[in-house]
Amino acid sequence: MSRLILGRLAWGLLTLWLVSVLVFAGTELLPGDVAAAILGQNATPESLAALREELGLNAPALQRYVAWLLGFLHGDLGESLANRTPVAELLWPRFGNTMALAAYAAVVAVPLAVTLGILSAVRRGSLFDRGANVIALATVSLPEYFLGLLLILLLSVRTGLLPSLANTYEGMGFLAWLQATTLPMIVLTLVTVAQIMRMTRTAVLGVMDQPFIEMAYLKGLRNGRVVLRHAVPNAAAPIVNVVAFNIAYLITGVVLVEAVFNYNGLGRFMVDAVSKRDLPMVQGAAMVFAAVYVLLNMTADIAAIALNPRLRHPRAKEA
């Protein structure tokens, strides 16, 4: 088992490195000149050449990539083209905000979704199960901004229960923060609950066809006990996988939700940087997003390996 986990760790690190190549290639090698983008309309050939020299754009791509990657590993994400501030200084606070919102949503969504998924597996075919399935299908189809605008209209404009914009600032109290971010949290919860719930249900039902479940029933155990004691532990690996996948989704899917509620997170940071075509800011944000995504997926796989009862057995061979 530990060999499998080590292998997965190595593959994760390799992916991270490949991702850095992709991000660098995507931003540096595609046509489009950074110096021209900074100087804009009133660029003269001389000023362009001078700026290229200053930014080190005349060095070969490989050399620039190595310098960029080494800087990155030391926490130096370069300087914003717009105002020459270090990207790291602007980026990390926004990243913290995004993680806080994602964590808030995950704390609510994950237990809710797993419980609902197990319940609808226990009561397969019941009114509850079918209703949950229809609602899940609907929320998967609805764009985040539709849900967001609808909730703003209902919970904020019409009733004044919650603020319509997620204005947060440094040093605000925890309760005030919770109140400001509850609407975006509800939207994120709605779009992820459906997914986790359906996958949990599928995973539990997949185990329910196994002979040992039939055995448990034949022993005379009650339905609820069979599901909770025998089916769920064996379905844990796929459930953990889908949960981690959806948390990874939370962290990038947050981009749209942040735009709806004007939340000061990394998603809006990246969108602003893209529309200003601020290269180092986009590179930084893309690397952070990608790294979180790769790490979460890796964690999910490792958790799945660790949770697989067959692999936990000392005599277990490779899966």
């Binding site: 995507g26 299908l137 998967v140 764009p143 539709f146 404009v157 749209l256 529309s275 986009v282 790769v294």
Partner: protein, 276 residues
């Protein structure tokens, strides 16, 4: 279809098909049906719905219904083009990787795994930063990124079919690559690929609308649904429904396609929106 087969179609699938038909009509005839031009100012901003303007006016005093009809062609057209591109790349390459195996398969699969290890939205934003947003860039970027998903599915499906006896027989007969793909694999891979086309269309459609909503997709002056939500968004703070119309149009089409795909896939264990 025989009457009995028609009767076995669940009502949800009928609703889905009706929604798709309605959107297809809007896609084909939208601009011709629109009572006003997409850039035509016909009244005050955010005028409420009236007999002359069934859905009211938008933030610049343009007819909402007309812009929705114009936007249908743009929003649906861009997504269709991107999905067509991703399928015309992903399906042949996926099948090729499955048949040839070895080096071809390893190289293609590694590339696809790496691209897929970055969230699509992030990859798309990186490309849009470098190239700026225009219709060709949008379509090609989304098509290429999405072709990785199509590749993965076609590869797995083709691997399954390639191991069947009839494929084995064809190989022993000495049939070439063209025959294997065109006569043995593709016809048998159609059902999952058609369902996947629906799901990929949903994903792409939501994705294009999402980019436009962020201001990085279809650019003005063209009307498109995601951009219309963005433009009218401030109206919601005054309790107006204006931004909800284009948002609902987006939602209805995705629900429609999902309902039909759900019916097509009934009995198979595929999870909707697995890789959004």
């Amino acid at each position: 279809m025989a009457p009995r087969a028609l009767r076995s179609v669940p009502p949800t699938a009928w609703i889905g098909m009706a929604l798709i038909a309605l959107n297809l009509l809007m896609f084909l005839l939208g601009p011709e049906l629109a009572p006003f031009g997409q850039e035509e100012t016909v009244g005050a901003p955010f005028d409420p719905p009236s007999a002359g303007h069934l859905l009211g006016l938008d933030q610049n005093g343009r007819d909402m219904l007309s812009r929705l009809l114009y936007g249908a062609r743009m929003s649906i057209g861009v997504s269709l083009a991107a999905v067509a591109l991703s399928f015309s790349l992903g399906v042949p390459l996926g099948i090729l990787a499955a048949i040839r195996g070895r080096a071809v398969d390893t190289v293609l699969s590694r590339v696809v795994d790496t691209v897929m290890s970055v969230p699509v939205l992030i990859s798309a934003l990186v490309v849009l930063q470098a190239l700026g947003s225009s219709l060709p860039v949008l379509i090609v970027t989304i098509g290429l990124l999405d072709s990785t998903r199509v590749f993965r599915l076609s590869r797995i499906v083709a691997q399954g079919i390639n191991a069947m006896e009839y494929a084995e027989v064809a190989r022993l007969r000495g049939e070439g690559l063209g025959w294997m793909i065109g006569r043995e694999i593709l016809p048998n891979a159609m059902p999952p690929l058609v369902a996947e086309f629906g799901l990929r269309f949903c994903f792409t459609f939501l994705f294009v609308a999402g980019l436009s909503y962020l201001g990085l997709g279809v650019q003005p002056p063209f009307a498109d649904w995601g951009g219309m939500v963005r433009d009218n968004q401030q109206g919601i703070l005054y309790g107006l429904y204006a931004p909800l119309f284009p948002a609902a149009a987006i939602a209805l089409l995705t629900i429609g396609v999902n309902l039909v795909v759900d019916w097509l896939l009934a009995g198979r264990t595929t999870v909707q929106g697995e890789n959004r």
